[in-house]
């Protein structure tokens, strides 16, 4: 048994499979995007809908009242990608626009997304169910059983998937979440494209390194691809941890430096090279520490901003901001708390080290 949806195509009612509906909607949304600057957009869309309706009618008979997803896919393939303004110039590059647009519009390759429609909490289960093609109830049950059997590890996997799996936002992504399983050709194309992406990304990065701004969102923003969003999701927690640890290092170093004078033998901080110069100005050391901090913190911060942008699916702000911010604050708090408790030992260690260095220099 499959669910059907009734649609109105240019004032004709048709019943189509739910999967077919998703594809059709993705196609029409894409057509609308392509025609965004066309003054006769409404009329062209009505014409396209009418053409689709005519083809749907041909697919139906006296005992066949539902248009299947496969038929919708065939119809959309017949229709072909909608090309912008109908200009010779924009249409002059058929290889490009065809190859990249058609699969996304008419039968996108299947990809793992979180799907919010019908989700309990985060859409992980609905997305996984769509990806493997089973009912969502089975997936939820499997997660619960896995969590019980593995004493909680299943839940950890679930949380990890919330972080790593991007949310299906655009209609094209929603269609891709239900789309065809990808085949070998698709895999080859993707690897090729990824290689090209990687090369152009590297070129872009080199260009950016030369310019003053470390990282700012691209000015013209096509929504980032699946790979970029996953990479952003993976890198964001790593960079957040790195950033928090590095900041804590700065805080502890600055604190130790400032407090140094209250402890015997710390007048000559930092230990080692400056040993014996008790009048060595503390603020110079502080500036040096901050400079060293900035040396690493600026690239880390830039990377984190980039990861945030991609993890948020191409928006400058989003849900990833919240959890990475919380993670950062929590980590810094924990590290500083631990440092606070361990500080006497830390200073003992430094003093010991200084003693050692003194011995070496003698």
């Amino acid at each position: 048994m499959r669910k059907v949806t009734t649609i109105n195509l240019n004032n004709n009612a048709y019943q189509i499979d739910e999967d077919g509906y998703e594809e059709l909607r993705a196609y029409l949304d894409k057509a609308e995007c392509a025609l965004a600057s066309n003054p006769e957009r409404a009329e062209i869309l009505a014409d396209l809908e009418q053409a689709i309706a005519d083809k749907c009618r041909l697919a139906l008979g006296p005992y066949k009242t539902v248009v299947s997803a496969a038929e919708i896919e065939r119809i959309l393939k017949e229709m072909g990608a909608v090309e912008g303004a109908g200009d010779a110039e924009s249409a002059a590059d058929p290889g490009n626009s065809r190859d990249s647009d058609t699969p996304a519009a008419a039968g996108a390759p299947r990809r793992m997304y979180r799907i919010y429609d019908g989700a309990m909490w985060s859409g992980v289960c609905t997305g996984l169910a769509a990806y493997v093609g089973v009912d969502v109830a089975f997936v939820r049950l499997a997660f619960i059983l896995l969590t019980i059997a593995s004493v909680g590890a299943g839940f950890l996997v679930y949380i990890l998937m919330i972080v790593l799996v991007p949310k299906a936002v655009t209609p094209a992504e929603k269609a891709a979440a239900h789309g065809q399983p990808f085949n070998a050709q698709e895999l080859v194309d993707r690897v090729k494209k990824k290689h090209e992406d990687f090369r152009s990304e590297r070129r872009e990065k080199r260009r950016m390194r030369r310019s003053a701004a470390w990282w700012s969102p691209p000015a013209i923003q096509p929504p980032p691809g699946y790979a970029a969003r996953v990479t952003g999701g993976v890198l964001l927690p790593l960079l957040t941890v790195l950033s928090a640890v590095w900041f804590s290092c700065l805080a502890i170093a600055a604190y130790v430096l400032w407090q140094g004078r209250y402890y015997a033998g710390f007048d000559a901080w930092p230990p080692g090279s400056w040993h014996g110069h008790t009048d060595f100005p503390r603020w110079v050391a502080l500036v040096a520490i901050i400079a060293i901090y900035a040396l690493l913190a600026i690239p880390i911060g830039a990377g984190r901003r980039a990861a945030l942008y991609y993890a948020n699916g191409g928006r400058p702000h989003g849900w990833a901001d919240a959890w990475s911010g919380l993670l950062w604050i929590a980590l810094v708090a924990v590290l500083l708390l631990v440092a606070w408790h361990q500080l006497p030992q830390l200073q003992e260690l430094l003093r010991h080290n200084e003693h050692g260095l003194r011995v070496i220099s003698l």
Partner: protein, 107 residues
């Protein structure tokens, strides 16, 4: 040498010419145009043809009228306007000129 790939962009650019040519012969609706073009090098799809026809109409080279059909809803039948006919003559003239040039270049 893959000719169809090599001439892809040129065919694409000539599609307007081909469509005007097809419409010039008789009043047609889109499905019929696609059929006429289907067997040829200018085979195309609705997704391309509708935006193209919309532009041609905006440039007042073609116009359509609604006609009842015996099966289904009324259809838009496209025909050439007078400026459209002149434009087609110009296009044909230029095309012949290009052809002559290419032939002459070898001699």
């Amino acid at each position: 040498m893959d000719l169809s790939e090599k001439f892809g962009p040129i065919r694409k650019g000539l599609l307007e010419f081909a469509v005007l040519r097809v419409i010039a012969a008789e009043k047609l609706y889109v499905a019929e145009m696609l059929q006429r073009l289907a067997g040829t090098e200018f085979a195309t799809q609705e997704g391309t043809l509708y935006p193209l026809l919309s532009r041609l109409r905006r440039e007042e080279l073609v116009d359509y009228e609604w006609q009842e059909s015996d099966a289904g809803p009324p259809r838009k039948y496209y025909k050439l306007t007078d400026p459209g006919r002149r434009a087609l003559d110009e296009l044909a003239g230029y095309w012949n000129h290009l052809h002559d040039t290419l032939t002459r270049l070898g001699n």
